[in-house]
């Protein structure tokens, strides 16, 4: 379990002190899929870096499984518990072969050669990268989508129980996007706790069970996707959107078509519309 207790972050620039994140309380229970939405500059990436100990909070504390990560010994082992993938993670690939790159994390953890090899194979399997085909290929020869998956394999090779993803699908084409989202969904289903920043409200609605909305360094909303996306007007007022299905339902409702709140996906929307039309004709039939 990861908990942020009154965590804030302020840094110095030549224009004075800038508060990138205002004091925030947040608890992420094991197995949660937390979606974070907000604009560039809303404090998203600061928050992610605080969670995994890459930044130290200016105030408050970050507690992982009951241990404060300000403690250097805790922080040094943190990468075994928390994996972090920055935006465009393929930019961190460096080794001559895919397998060696993925082995970087496990090796830093001081694992034995056989254990490292086991981890590499497992990570590649989880990212749907065939070992025979990719293990000895140069990361620089892969396609965009394959590179992305190789980089993510390098992040999960230490088998973290919490994975932090900053815009994991940025720049991928539609098929690549849905493939990767499928993989991420599997991670969560197998018990991994997920934190994902995305500007696709549809992806957040589909995958997350908790949503955090950030604006100008402050958490302005926290709740289930239904609660958060139920406040479409508020989200629009801060220039964020809602899932396409929610948007469509809201417009239909405004034009006099009765629909319940909390329709987040295509399927639930279609069913609700069908239900309404059928019940309408049934009541008239009587």
């Amino acid at each position: 379990m990861l908990a942020l207790e009154g965590v804030s972050y302020t840094y110095r620039s030549h224009e004075g002190d800038v508060t990138a994140l205002k004091p925030l309380d947040l608890t992420i229970e094991d197995g949660t899929f937390l979606g974070i939405i907000g604009h560039t500059g809303s404090g998203k990436s600061t928050l992610l870096q605080l969670m995994c100990g890459l930044l130290s909070p200016s105030s408050g504390r970050v507690v992982v499984d009951g241990e404060n990560i300000a403690d250097k010994r805790v922080r040094n082992r943190l990468h075994l518990k928390i994996g972090m993938a920055f935006q465009y993670p393929e930019y961190q690939l460096f080794a001559p072969t895919v397998a060696e790159d993925i082995a970087f994390g496990p090796r830093n953890a001081g694992l034995s050669a056989t254990e490292v090899d086991k981890r590499v194979r497992l990570a590649m399997e989880r990212l749907r990268l065939g070992y025979e085909r990719f293990a000895h290929a140069s990361p620089f020869e892969l396609s965009g989508g394959e590179k992305r998956r190789a980089a993510l394999a390098g992040v999960i090779a230490t088998d973290p129980k919490l994975l932090i993803l900053d815009e994991p699908t940025a720049g991928l084409d539609p098929a690549g996007r849905s493939e990767l989202l499928g993989i991420i969904e599997e991670f969560n289903r197998s018990g991994m706790t997920l934190v994902m920043v995305s500007h696709s409200m549809d992806d957040i609605a589909r995958l997350a069970n908790r949503v955090l909305v950030l604006k100008d360094g402050a958490a302005v909303m926290q709740g289930t996707p239904t609660e958060v996306f139920g406040r479409g007007d508020f989200l629009r007022s801060i220039n964020l959107g809602v899932p396409q299905a929610t948007e469509f339902a809201a417009e239909l409702r405004a034009q006099g078509f009765p629909l319940p709140e909390g329709l987040l996906t295509l399927e639930t929307l279609a069913s609700a519309i069908a239900h309404e039309l059928e019940s309408g004709s049934v009541s008239r039939g009587i």
């Binding site: 604009h39 560039t40 500059g41 465009y88 393929e90 620089f140 020869e141 892969l142 396609s143 965009g144 989508g145 590179k147 940025a170 720049g171 991928l172 084409d173 539609p174 098929a175 690549g176 500007h199 696709s200 220039n239 964020l240 959107g241 396409q244 299905a245 469509f248 417009e251 239909l252 034009q255 006099g256 078509f257 295509l266 399927e267 929307l269 279609a270 069913s271 519309i273 069908a274 309404e276 039309l277 309408g280 004709s281 008239r284």
Partner: protein, 299 residues
């Protein structure tokens, strides 16, 4: 202006264009889709199409489909190995025409950070006109006009490093507009932007086209392709489909096979049909809402 009416020369004309990347060379790696196409695989395979003055064409395709290669052919950054590309009637395979072709065909790339040469917005916008040897006094008015067209006038003296991705990309568009091109080519301009940045770019591109600018937009975002008058779908370097957006989107299976998306309203229509509700399959969101309201009032 009158010229265009007298001589109906297409702005861009591709005639059975083939292009294969040289062996051992990887495709120039674009920021988001660093796709290395195996040597000998055709990056463009017998592509033909034309773009008329004032048109808005969207070229859609998955990463590695050859759409960026296609874009680079329009302004002579790449030359066809066989076939012919004419831009404003000029043959791109003539090296001595490259300068003139580029002055007519302005190109915006996907990563705004890698297109700017200076750390002051106005100076960057002036770079193109300076290269075209536009007289000094006219450069200033062109810079002003271009920044106005992308609604960034207030940022003229700012450092682009302090702007958002969407704002930077607008500066890049201004940098091309200041060259007063006949056609604006945008190669995945929204790929590195957030939803708000993409919306801003969409609005500006639509406005420019309404103002008469010919636009070729390369993208894999369906909401961007929806803006176009005509859509060209390419996959593995080949034309797969061409037509008005809604006609093209009707081919859902083909789009999926090309690793592309189907717009939301069509998916919803599909789901509704599956639930026994009779709605037309090819609809825009607005049309679909009208149909549903009509069904509801009848029910």
């Amino acid at each position: 202006m009158e010229d265009a009416e007298v001589s109906p020369v297409p702005i861009v004309e591709f005639d059975i264009v083939n292009y294969v990347y040289p062996a051992h060379a990887t495709v120039p790696q674009t920021a988001t889709s660093a796709d290395a196409i195996p040597a000998q695989q055709a990056a463009l395979d017998a592509i033909s199409f034309t773009v008329e003055p004032g048109e808005f064409l969207a070229v859609i395709g998955a990463n590695g489909s050859g759409k960026s290669t296609l874009a680079k052919h329009i302004n002579a950054l790449l030359k066809p190995q066989s076939g012919r590309v004419l831009t404003v009637g000029l043959d791109t395979s003539e090296p001595e025409l490259a300068f003139e072709i580029r002055s007519h065909a302005g190109m915006v790339f996907q990563n705004p950070d890698n297109q700017m040469v200076t750390s002051i917005v106005a100076d960057d916008v002036a770079f193109g006109p300076e290269n075209l040897a536009v007289p000094h006094d006219e450069i200033a008015s062109r810079v002003d006009d271009a920044l106005d067209a992308v609604k960034m006038t207030d940022f003229a003296l700012r450092n682009p490093a302090h702007l958002s991705g969407g704002q930077k990309q607008r500066i890049c568009i201004a940098g091309v507009l200041a060259m007063r091109p006949d056609v604006l080519i945008l190669d995945e301009p929204g790929a590195m932007l957030d939803a708000r940045g993409r919306r801003g770019i969409r609005r500006i591109v639509r406005e420019l086209n309404k103002g008469g600018m010919t636009v070729i937009l390369i993208t894999h975002f369906m909401e961007e392709a929806m803006l176009a008058g005509r859509v060209l779908v390419i996959s593995e370097g080949r034309n797969m489909l061409e037509g008005a957006p809604i006609e093209v989107f009707a081919h859902k299976e083909l789009l999926r096979a090309c690793r592309l998306d189907v717009p939301f309203s069509l998916l919803l229509a599909e789901e509704l049909c599956a639930r026994g509700i009779k709605v037309p399959e090819l609809v825009s969101p607005k049309e679909l809402r009208e149909v549903l309201l009509c069904l509801h009032s009848k029910a």
